[in-house]
Subunit: 470 residues, 2 copies
């Protein structure tokens, strides 16, 4: 039976309602710890955050809680085995570090002194990602309360890293070294969002990311544009030539081989995207932009969720100050990022871009091109039974049909998939207005409690339907 | 008779040799004054430099010497009327301000404590332009000594401005306001150079200059390249598109109307350029560059001296720091300079560029384009008798044939031509290795004395042959 009986729903909701105040009190305490991984002066706070979470997970009932040190900030691991030995193992992923925040950036209240206003909890990390990690604590308790179990219906593991906002530099190594402890049949990533407050959705994929910096060098030093202008190659012109050639007239990336292996959207996926109540004017306001653009033949949602891109993140060269300076600059650079989709290999993309650049740099211009570590794309198979469990659990909590989205951004989920060999699913209740990485980040308290409720139903459903996958 | 008799040459040379030590002592004193017009903390030094020069010109014998205040730094005016009323009037132009300089930039000695090493005088301003202004003082004395005159053979005027290194912001106004005092039959600009130590040349033109900054704005603030990448226009990509489209495949500026009115080189001018001992490898070393480039169908010298250009002086947008930042930048800019040649109207060029940019900015990108004040191109008519006087005087001094060059750079000479209605000629003895605007600027003392000698012959020759023009 897929839907919890009404009585189970009632027990879950009553239990959550009873615990809500204590749950939010605990979350508030955690949010007070400024666990900013990007700022060395907060290293002790990130450690404190890890210790706080490990203690809280032990208090929740997890018999195993460990702080795992890395070359950078520590992660928290917790495990709560099921007393049903044949139950599937689920690994929840999230992160306890947060983006930098300061009142001076435009916060209406101290980002590390949580405030509740109009049903919203304002604090750095409220949505990204402490709130979404934390709903798993009360969720598993509600699951036990509703089922009368003393252990979860699945073998439950949590891995909450401490460096996601710094690009997870040590995450892959950690996962590889601890692969045996982390072994799971499915990974649930709680670090994404939903379409909107009124349209619950499950994310089914994130794009990958490959980043490079290209430096072009012309003269050995800035030279006079009067004395030499018009007769030697200008590296700023050359870098512009590269960038301008990066896309063709149809908005497609013009690097040969870039699209090799790209898994195209199926008609079903395009229809699922099209079902969403997309309002272009509203989306443009969110994007703070004045027109849509991009690859022809694709909708906005297809472009941001399911198509690979090339974007300039920074460009520079020559005189940057006020007024004018009549020079031909010695050098110019561009920082590019490529979002990748299922089927693309970051190494192949890097090779294709490297060759393309080398072939296009004008005579007399020397160049350097560096690709950093890449993030692979990650896609949940739409026909995976575990995805149906997430959809059912969320549908019960929200009492609405659940639709599908993807995320245009990138995260370390693919590392978990690749190392552990387990499908990755996404369960998040954040909404676009939550302001990730922005001033006045918040979480909608009603949605947060729906997250709790979803996980209260999820473990039972997953255990019940897991055999569907085998 | 065009060539001074041998006895006159002998008198001039003896006179100059006798005065050389005192002349260099005076110049050294002047070079000690750090008259850096671009640095407000040196404003008093620029004024002191003007006063010093005015006093020295009075000592030289100029019956009229005045310091002319402007809205910025002061200029020096001096006048020495000929006792031959029908003699032509010649106005010498130069500047007494200098570029900034500091030992930390790589000077081997204090830039404002002149040092003589290996026949070279090292100091900021030694060549640009105090040395080349100063040779006119001893030159006119030698002219009097050799001719036995008590006044010059021409009505001699000097206008030595104090803001050339700051773009001469008040020069045009000054010339317009003082046009009556400055009235002249010919202008001699001593602020240029020669081909080399062994190839004396006369410059016959400078390019004009129009500069603009274009700012393109996309999103209202930097936005996440994962969430929005691929679906909104990126202003850094747009600015690259503009820059890349600025030139066609033949290296010509692709802005419609840009070449309107351009006076093409005559076959004679191309032949004169081709006579110069141009060594591409050597020129590339001077340009500190690794290849030539530019408009097809033209030699390097034609490109830098006689063809208009569009160069990127600066480009920027988005993340400029170390590492990566996954944003679509809110804005991007480019600073462009256009060198102009005879026949081009800076206002028309600005209009053409403005229209071209407006037509090319992608939808959703807002833009701003500002052109600053322009400098017009300036060309000496090759058939002007005064040019022949300069060539003869220089040929006598250097005992070599004199060839013709132009300068790729730009200066305020065109203002003098336009306001005073007089042809502009260039007389300079600086060589490319003198390091204008660079550390260790110097002047070759032997060439400096040839400058003195040239002017010692020039005024007599001009007076004698002036009627050829009428």
């Amino acid at each position: 039976m897929s839907k919890p009986v009404d009585s189970a729903v009632s027990v879950v909701r009553t239990y959550i309602q009873d615990q809500r105040a204590a749950f939010l009190g605990d979350l508030t305490e955690w949010l007070r710890i400024p666990s900013v991984s990007a700022q060395p002066e907060h290293a002790a706070d990130v450690s404190r955050s890890a210790g706080w979470l490990a203690a809280k997970l032990a208090e929740t009932g997890f018999p195993v809680t460990e702080v795992w040190e890395t070359a950078g900030a520590p992660a928290v691991f917790a495990e709560w085995p099921s007393d049903t030995p044949e139950a599937p193992t689920v690994l929840v992923y999230g992160h306890h570090d947060v983006q930098p925040a300061a009142v001076a950036d435009g916060w209406h209240s101290d980002p590390f002194e949580p405030q509740t206003r109009d049903g919203r909890l304002y604090a750095r990390g409220a949505a990204d990602d402490k709130g979404q990690v934390f709903f798993h604590t009360l969720g598993v308790r509600a699951h036990l309360a509703a089922t009368g179990r003393t252990t979860p219906a699945v073998h439950l593991k949590l891995l909450i890293e401490g460096e996601e906002e710094s690009g997870s530099p040590n995450f892959r190594t950690l996962v590889e070294e601890r692969a045996e402890r982390l072994a799971a049949d499915a990974v649930i990533v709680s670090d994404t969002g939903m379409w909107s407050e009124t349209t619950p959705t499950v994310c089914t994929g994130m794009r990958g990311l490959a980043e490079c910096e290209i430096e072009l060098r012309g003269p050995d030093q800035d030279i006079h544009s009067g004395s030499f202008g018009g007769a030697v190659p200008n590296p700023a012109t050359a870098v512009a030539g590269l960038v301008a050639a990066l896309h063709d007239e149809d908005g497609r990336v013009a690097v040969p081989g870039f699209y090799d292996g790209v898994v195209p959207l199926t008609d079903e996926e395009r229809e699922l995207f099209a079902e969403l109540p997309f309002d272009e004017a509203r989306w443009l306001r969110t994007a703070k932009s004045y027109a849509t653009a991009g690859e022809s033949g694709h909708t906005v949602l297809e472009r941001i969720w399911a198509r690979p891109t090339a974007e300039v993140n920074g460009i520079g060269g020559g005189y940057q100050g006020e007024g004018t300076k009549t020079i031909i600059p010695a050098s110019a650079f561009v920082k590019l990022s490529f979002r990748l989709v299922e089927g693309q290999d970051p190494d192949q993309v890097a090779k294709a871009v490297t060759e393309w650049v080398a072939a296009r740099v004008p005579e007399g211009i020397r160049h350097r091109l560096d690709f950093g570590p890449a993030t692979r794309p990650c896609l949940t198979p739409l026909d995976h039974p575990a995805l149906r469990s997430v959809v059912r659990a969320m549908g019960t909590a929200f009492e609405q049909p659940v639709r599908f989205t993807r995320e245009g951004g990138s995260g370390p989920a693919a590392d978990l998939r690749d190392v552990l060999g387990a499908p990755v699913l996404f369960l998040g209740i954040s909404v676009p207005s939550d302001g990730w990485h922005a001033p006045n980040e918040k979480v909608e308290l009603d949605l947060l409690m729906k997250g709790v409720e979803t996980t209260a139903y999820l473990w039972g459903d997953l255990a019940e339907h897991w055999t569907d996958t085998h």
